[in-house]
């Protein structure tokens, strides 16, 4: 440790602290204040918990929450595919670096770009349905983004398509830091591929898996705006609206920042509740790394 005068550390810290206070500190206090007012322009009269009451009674908000909850189903799928691919790559089959490059690629691409490409592919008369019809699956050629029952599943499919490479890479990195002798011993003992994966490899990944699950949950609850905005704008008929979009609509379309702030507070408390386990898990994962 450097020995400095008492004030020097704070001097170093101040610029960052100011920037964080501006982007996080002030807004996090302000949303609580705004959420109990009917904001018109920059401020407005105090209305108590009225905004919360309206949000919590709004069927569109319920729908948004339900949609985010439905997106959580992507988490086990992401985890399963990510793990499978990571374990396959870990065994270093021929061309594995090429596969890794390819499979990670979607995660680099921007969501709007992917969204535009997929929404064209998923059109009723788009390429995906053309392929389905060509291979005799005419009955499966559906209006992927245009029909209410399907649109959210289609969006989820695209989210999985993009995000799976990230989990894979994360697991692979962890696997490659493991001691190979354990797996080797299992192999010599006659354990087959499946047994090795379930009883030897995956338990060793426990920390990073738990961490990944929590991060993915937060992603599905609060980081899917761009997918929805680009592919469906929340439609058809609110069939794909999510909490972020609900908030966005109230803040920037319906000109009710007070109501939007009430949603922001709810979302903030949600994320906060999830951050606590995340902290514990990351600490564990770091422990594992050190041992």
């Amino acid at each position: 440790m450097l020995r400095t005068s008492r004030f020097v550390p704070y001097l170093y810290l101040t610029p960052a602290a100011l920037l964080l206070a501006f982007t996080f500190g002030y807004p996090l206090i302000a949303i609580f204040d705004f959420s109990v007012r009917r904001i018109r322009g920059a401020s407005g009269p105090f209305v108590g918990l009225e905004n919360y009451r309206q949000v919590l009674n709004d069927s569109v908000f319920h729908l948004s929450v339900a949609h985010n909850a439905q997106l959580l189903l992507a988490v086990p799928i992401l985890l399963g595919i990510g793990l499978l691919l990571a374990i396959l790559l870990y065994e270093r089959p021929r061309f594995w670096p090429l596969y890794r490059t390819l499979l990670f690629l979607p995660y680099i691409l921007a969501v709007p770009l992917i969204g535009v490409v997929f929404s064209n592919m998923l059109q009723l008369n788009g390429v995906i349905n053309e392929i389905l019809r060509a291979i005799g699956l005419r009955a499966l050629a559906l209006d992927w983004l245009g029909s209410a029952g399907l649109a959210l599943w289609s969006v989820m499919g695209v989210i999985i398509w993009r995000e799976v490479g990230f989990g894979m890479t994360l697991f692979l990195a962890r696997l490659q830091s493991l001691n190979e002798e354990v797996t080797e011993a299992a192999r010599i003992d006659g354990a087959n591929w499946w047994q090795r994966a379930i009883y030897v490899t995956i338990p060793q990944l426990r920390g990073v898996i738990e961490f990944y699950i929590v991060v993915s949950i937060i992603t599905m609850l609060a980081w899917v705006f761009s997918y929805v905005y680009v592919m469906t704008r929340g439609g058809p008929g609110n069939a794909t609206i999510v909490i972020e979009m609900y908030l966005y609509n109230f803040a920037f379309r319906n000109a009710l920042p007070g109501v939007a702030s009430a949603v922001a507070v709810i979302l903030f408390l949600f994320t906060l509740a999830l951050t606590i386990p995340l902290f514990r898990l990351r600490a564990q994962a770091l422990e594992e790394d050190r041992t």
Binding site: R40, D143, S147, A148, G235, G237, N238, R253, V259
Partner: protein, 407 residues
Amino acid sequence: MSWWGEQEAPGLENWLKGSIALFEKETGHKVIPTLQDTTVVVSEFQTASAANNAPDIQYLWNGIYHMESVWLGYVEPLNDWIPEELLKASNATSLSIFGGKQYRLGWYAVPYMWAYNKEMFDRAGLNADQPPKTWDEFLNACDRLKASGVIPVVGGLKDGPWGEWFLGHSLTQNLDSAGEAIDLFIGARDWRDPLHWEPWARLEALWKAGYLNDDLNSIDLYPGIDLFGAGKGAITIIVGPLVPKMQSLLGADKVGVMVMPVFGKGKMAGKPLADTQGLGISSQSKHKRIAADFLIFLNRPERVSALWEQVKQLPANANWDGSVITDPVIKQIWQEWMHGDNVPYVSNLMPTLFWTDAMFVNSQKIIAGEYNGEQAGQNAYEVTQKWIAQNPDMVEKYRQWATELKL
């Protein structure tokens, strides 16, 4: 002095720049224009006003899109600044007036209409010079068009506004005045009344009969209109400024315009819909006199003519001599839509929440097979109740406005 606005109509930007240069030469006053994104034209003006940072002149959409700002005290009444005669001639429409004061000066015309492909009408054995007027005639035409192998009506609903356009044309049909539309938006009339959800029931019937493009729900508004321009559909809902483009794509003699066929019994049914884009002055402006002078300058006969000569936009100004129009269809629009027995565009009266959560949602859900007309009416009712609860401060103003618009 600052000017904020969008110029969605192609070429308008040059016209504005030209006007600014001429104005500066004549008066020495500089006007600095800023181009806004269409999605924020309304909200950005309000935000800026709240921050005491509004531009001197703001481009204003008609109806509630600027009336809300008026109620918040952000827009200057023009009556003290601009001669009465010009206020009237500018064609800002009745939706720009509140409490006896006018808040906008009309700029260019945005008539709302249906366009049809005359060649396709001919081929389907329909009279291309007499487009359907009643709903039955229309259904019959759709039938014949479909049998002739074209899609009768094309559009794009994925992004939403097509739902607004459809309702703007059809809601009017069972109403006697624009004020009655407001009654619906503030709960003084009931959306659950079959009379008022009839538009959505009509849409449902069109969809079920297979008269609309099957990918209606998966393409956006303008690509939907492009289907018409590409000769893939016989009829589309359109706005005046887009008609010349369709003419250049299909041939000037192939494009006809019509009023939405009539199913309703209100006084406004079957009449052309007229609307204008306009300009107003911020109540915070420190240069109100200059701003007003600039608006007056833009309405000089020479400038108004230039709007037509250079940009091919129909000016809103009623003093402009429409006889210079040579194209018969555009001339028809000028005469019937802008200067005939027209009615205002009632979609301009609804709150944003209704726009997105009822107008977009209802149409999309009908096409997705989730709603019928009645359920759409039920949803419209619920959205209205929700808006009232969220905006108690606006409801009163709306009520007063409705009274005035019924006079």
